[in-house]
Symmetry: C2
């Protein structure tokens, strides 16, 4: 299990996140208060289950991006706070439903809500958080923001269904896989960044730039996640190396190893991923095949190239603290180990 592949030149990823954290610090405190406030319900199980996930030390990257994009857009109001809190609720709802769909036992180093409260409660509390998210957005009252986020909600679900349909299908192409992560992951990054421009009524080209930044950052983020699942350090990741493998998840490292492999190797992927027949030593063999075909390096290479697109997308904005912080996040996503 202890296979750790160095993913990139040494560089402290946490340093890259600091400028963003400094930039949004005050607003994030307000967001955290709103999140606590809106996870409340007379129905005891709702705040209990919601807090399990909310307090579990997620980075709140998506609301931070939404706040940074609003600041970059010169927004002077307060609507970005509730919009960003709604985005985090949408994300939390997705995680709850994901863990049910994937039958996951661990998230961020803790038992999943579905293990502690059951699948049923996880589905329903996810629905509640999604409902609360839209309530908050209606309070903000910006139809453009509502449009962006209702669109994202449908697209994310569409992406999850695509992923379900592709599950265990080793002949999934890289393009098909990109369509999936575009919908299930990048759509919310895109929406988070776009809301910042939309709420400030910025010109179309700036909103398009924010969309492009968010989407490509989201793609990079997901691809790094995929690589880390085979190369990361379990203790720092808060999830076990090989989770995707054990769940038979098709991710880019598998797709590339399958395509670049010989007959015997494809038979291995079909047995383990498609037929879910996993034996002792299979994970180590999978990682060895990925090394042989440089599948993790190729996945990271793709991630870096999406990161470069995200960086260029922001080039139309003036050089400022907000832009610099948002560009540093790209380095964080690519170099992070957790």
């Amino acid at each position: 299990m202890g296979v750790v592949v160095p993913l990139d030149e040494a560089r402290d990823p946490v340093q890259s996140l600091k400028p963003l954290m400094e930039l949004v610090k005050e607003d994030m405190e307000a967001i955290n208060r709103i999140i606590l406030d809106k996870a409340v319900s007379d129905v005891e199980m709702i705040p209990e289950l919601a807090h399990h996930l909310i307090d579990s030390g997620g980075k709140r990257l998506r609301p931070m991006l939404a706040i940074a994009a609003a600041k970059l857009s010169g927004y002077q109001g307060t609507g970005h706070i509730r919009s960003a809190a709604a985005i985090e609720f949408m994300h939390t709802a997705t995680l709850l439903h994901d863990d049910v769909v994937d039958e996951s036992d661990q998230r961020r180093g803790k038992k999943t809500a579905r293990l502690l409260w059951g699948n049923q409660a996880s589905v329903l509390v996810g629905d509640f958080l999604l409902g609360q998210a839209f309530r908050m957005l209606v309070d903000v009252g910006s139809l453009p923001v509502l449009k962006i986020l209702s669109n994202a909600a449908a697209v994310i679900a569409e992406g999850e269904v695509m992923q379900l349909a592709a599950a265990k299908n080793t002949s999934t192409t890289e393009d098909e896989y990109l369509a999936i992560i575009n919908a299930k992951t990048a759509a919310l990054f895109l929406a988070a960044a776009e809301t910042g421009g939309a709420i400030a009524n910025r010109p179309a080209e700036e909103q398009a730039a924010l969309r492009s930044y968010g989407k490509n950052l989201g793609l990079a983020f997901q691809l790094v996640d995929d690589a880390l699942d085979y190369a990361g350090d379990s203790a720092r990741l808060g999830k076990s190396v090989g989770d995707d493998f054990r769940e038979g998840k098709i991710t880019l490292p598998v797709i590339l190893s399958f395509r670049r492999g010989n007959e015997a190797e494809r038979a291995f992927w079909n047995r383990t991923i498609a037929e879910a027949d996993i034996r002792d030593g299979d994970l180590e063999h999978a990682i060895a095949l990925m090394k042989k075909h440089k599948a993790l390096e190729a996945t990271m290479e793709r991630a870096r190239s999406y990161g470069a697109i995200a960086r260029d997308a922001l080039a139309i904005f003036r050089d400022c603290r907000e832009r610099a912080a948002m560009q540093d996040v790209i380095a964080f996503c690519i170099n992070r180990a957790n």
Copy 2:
């Protein structure tokens, strides 16, 4: 199984629904087109699964009520059509998630989507339909309507969690049960009726009247549903008599029988409902106990009294075709056998 309790004086329930159906006929055709149009996705499984439920012959009572309320409010625009279609999508999403949570095998006389496509797809397609619903509402662009329906989405999920927490608890009180059905069923009836007044910008007292009508109609509808589950005709219901019993669901007939019963009877309810130890002849015995304590009649009596409140709520409107049709629906809900 063939225990059929006559629920009310003979009166053809379908006749009571006809005035409403005539009133909304044209708009419902437009709604059906939108529903077909918005259940489309490039992800094959989504339209397949969505259509399984959409085409299964539901009455579309909630969108019909939303349309009728808009007409009663003199609304002249077209936004009520998409709002009503969104309401049906929200309802469909709830049914998909409900069937997963209740582990149901049948709905409307057909196998449930979760049996045919799995729990995972049912959760995700439910999420997709909810996302589409909000997309449609954003297109309508009425913040008051968005507020009503985002609120309903959160309240419905809250009600479902309440029901889950009360599951198998035979000492649930009638008041606690009312709070559950108020949230999980009546909230969407309330919201459907209220949108009609809100979209037409009617005065607060008319919107309050529509809310009261919808809520009490929803309560009556759910209570009749509860009674039918022990008294209905399976073939006409499209679901089996005793489904609630087999699922250990706490409904008003059980609550009343438990409270009115002696020690031995309470032990019976605890064994069957709380401990899920159901043996041959138990359903018949449960129905016999309900007869002994007039639990079904009492449930129907409650339904009729909520129906009366709904009827009175509409009294402030002038006597017109729309009001008459909406009042007739109350009779339909109380006398329906399917």
